[in-house]
């Protein structure tokens, strides 16, 4: 194990797969100079401009040509510079990639990876802060992952590259340099569709993903230290397909569940997790399933005070946990 940042772990995962697969291509805007966040830093020098490909500023075709590359023996990993700019590619993702196998009755597969930095907290304002995961987790045929730790960031990028289907890989941009952690030194992949139990406690369960998983864990440690609440923290890691067993096991064991995400409330991942628990673990519940999420406003404002007012924080999470535990 070696300690690495989240961004180093993603880069390392990409590099190792580029070494392993000589038809793998990373493509996107400003990829060759390293990308605006520098995830692909140094790759041009190592693999050349054909495999480290700067595309025109045209998101639909970034995904569209990736689909073509994938069916002709290449392994494309597309970068959408900010998740906020993925909407022009939604037709290619939803109507093409996601339906590719189903509509051809398994005649064709569509093994593409689309990476997208997402999330708020960096004063990126309306169009550099969005969380778009729920929109895509809704779409059958896609797999959607959102790692929170460096180990999972590396393990899931490898799993995504090796997967036979389209995988949307959401990397939290605030986590890039802020989050550090131990990463195994040997080759490994993190199974898509499996959640990770970050903490075990008997009072309540907190379910989250991405950067919020860290906030939840810290809130849980704080409340445990205070002797107030002993919480289980479940990090979803994969948003589609959800790890139903892990979610229901945790819900059944504690009987009280809080779901936290920075994406806005309505129709978010929390709604699906909550419905799943209500449907399949109702008899075990000691309290209504609670959700803590950003309110339903269109996007994050630029002003720091406004942004902070919308995002869940360690404090608001801790308060919601106390409240639920007291129910």
């Amino acid at each position: 194990m070696t300690s690495k940042t989240y961004i180093e772990a993603i880069r390392e995962g990409l590099l190792e797969e580029m070494d392993r697969l000589d038809t793998m291509i990373v493509l996107g805007e400003d990829i060759q100079e390293g990308g605006v966040f520098r995830v692909t830093d140094g790759m041009l020098q190592k693999y050349g401009p054909q495999r480290v490909l700067d595309t025109p500023l045209a998101e639909s075709s970034i995904v569209g040509v990736s689909i073509g590359m994938a069916i002709n023996g290449c392994v494309p990993v597309a970068e959408i510079q900010f998740a906020d700019f993925a909407y022009p590619a939604f037709n290619q993702i939803i109507s093409e990639a996601a339906k590719w196998r189903y509509r051809s009755n398994n005649g064709w597969g569509c093994p593409i990876v689309v990476r997208a930095p997402y999330g708020a907290g960096i004063r990126g304002a309306m169009y550099h802060s969005q969380s778009i995961e729920a929109l895509l987790a809704h779409v059958p045929g896609l797999k959607v992952v959102a790692p929170s730790t460096p180990a999972d960031a590396k393990g899931l990028i490898k799993a995504a590259i090796r997967d036979p289907d389209p995988v949307i890989y959401f990397e939290h941009k605030k986590a890039y340099r802020m989050v550090k952690g131990e990463v195994p030194d040997e080759d490994f992949a993190t199974s898509i569709g499996s959640a990770a139990l970050r903490r075990e406690g008997d009072d309540i369960t907190v379910i989250s993903y991405g950067l919020m998983a860290h906030e939840c864990l810290q809130a849980a440690e704080q409340l445990a230290d205070e002797g107030a609440v002993d919480a289980t923290v479940l990090d979803l890691r994969t948003l589609a397909p959800l790890d139903r067993d892990a979610i229901l096991d945790a819900a059944k064991r504690t009987g009280k569940v809080l779901i936290v995400h920075e994406d806005n409330l309505t129709g978010g991942i929390g709604a699906e997790v909550s419905a799943m628990i209500s449907e399949h673990a109702f008899d075990y519940l000691d309290a209504p399933v609670r959700r803590l999420a950003s309110p339903d406003v269109p996007a994050m404002p630029f002003n720091g005070a406004l942004e902070d007012a919308l995002l869940p924080s360690r404090e608001t999470i801790a308060a919601a946990m106390r409240d639920l535990a007291a129910y």
Partner: protein
């Protein structure tokens, strides 16, 4: 019995011409039949391209089958016949049967997919498959493979952003893609003047610094030669080509459309006089490559074949209801 055509020695060119003529006839007969089956209430939907036979059959016979990648659109019955998909298989798609090779009865008819022939699955979304052609061609180039992608679309597709993005990408990387536009003057009801301010789709090629050619889409030999040249240029690494074949569809857009609302019968009649099949037949007979008797015999035989194909396809089994859940993911992850 030895038939006249067998008794006469045939050159390779003559053989090709007869095959192309036959494919045009099959395409027309099958398309007419698919519409009729819809009108009889035996098929839920039909989409065809009567009138496009020269553009489709002529171009498809320039494709290196099994090597080149083909991305046809839903009007391309003639392309598929020329590539060798049987009327029976196409009819399995019309009736949405389990054996439909395109989609197992999942897609509307004529939404082609045939992996063995490198015919790539497509949606109903106009122009969405153009970037796929560019991506396939990028992979061909990266991997050093001498294969070409040809993607078919109507003039309406050239209004879509994906047209621009795909052609631009192919032009930047000098990719082996033939962009083949079957310009029939109408995108459902919208005439070309509502789609573009240029007179010819091929004029758009200038904006990408690639070669664009406008051809008479009802002249099968011109279409064939132009496509053949374009594909070979691509194979030599000389970058993408845009072909615009001007033609006309005799049928409504689909079985759900009434074209009398947006175009005159007089206009249609003018184009029917220039029927690409009649035109090629006249030429073949004039050149001594076909006799009127052979033509009649060929037509009768095709009618019989299609009668049999309809009967067999209509009787073929439907998919199992439980199959609706299959192939969401490659690893059969349960939905």
């Amino acid at each position: 019995m030895v038939r006249a055509k067998d008794a006469r020695p045939q050159s390779a060119t003559s053989k090709l011409h007869r095959q192309m003529y036959r494919d045009m006839l099959v395409s027309r007969e099958l398309s007419d039949r698919m519409f009729a089956l819809n009108r009889q209430g035996r098929a839920a939907f039909a989409v065809t391209g009567q009138g496009h036979e020269a553009t489709q059959v002529g171009s498809a016979h320039a494709i290196k089958r099994g090597t080149d990648w083909v991305l046809p659109y839903y009007r391309d019955v003639g392309v598929m016949i020329a590539l060798g998909m049987s009327p029976h298989d196409i009819l399995l798609g019309l009736f949405a049967k389990a054996g439909d090779p395109n989609s197992g009865g999942r897609q509307m008819p004529c939404h082609w997919s045939w992996p063995e022939m490198r015919v790539v699955t497509r949606s109903s979304v106009i122009a969405a498959n153009l970037p796929h052609a560019s991506g396939i061609a990028y992979a061909s180039k990266l991997r050093g493979l001498k294969e070409v992608s040809i993607v078919y679309f109507g003039e309406g597709a050239t209004s879509e952003g994906d047209f621009h993005e795909a052609v631009n990408f192919a032009a930047i990387h000098k990719l082996p893609v033939v962009f083949f536009c079957e310009n029939n003057g109408y995108a459902i009801s919208e005439s070309s003047e509502k789609q573009m301010s240029v007179l010819h789709v091929a004029d758009r090629a200038k904006g990408y610094n690639i070669v664009g050619q406008t051809v008479d889409g009802n002249d099968i030999l011109t279409v064939h030669q132009t496509t053949k040249w374009s594909i070979e240029e691509c194979r030599r690494g000389r970058g993408p080509k845009l072909i615009e074949a001007k033609t006309y569809r005799f049928s409504p857009h689909t079985s759900s459309d009434d074209d009398r609302r947006y175009r005159t019968r007089a206009e249609l009649e003018e184009w029917v006089k220039r029927d690409p099949i009649d035109r090629f037949r006249t030429r073949l007979i004039d050149e001594g490559e076909l006799t009127a008797e052979e033509d009649a015999e060929m037509r009768a035989q095709i009618k019989r074949e299609i009668n049999e194909a309809v009967e067999a396809a209509e009787r073929a089994p439907d998919p199992e209801p439980a199959d609706a859940l299959r192939f969401v993911y490659g690893d059969e992850t349960a939905p």
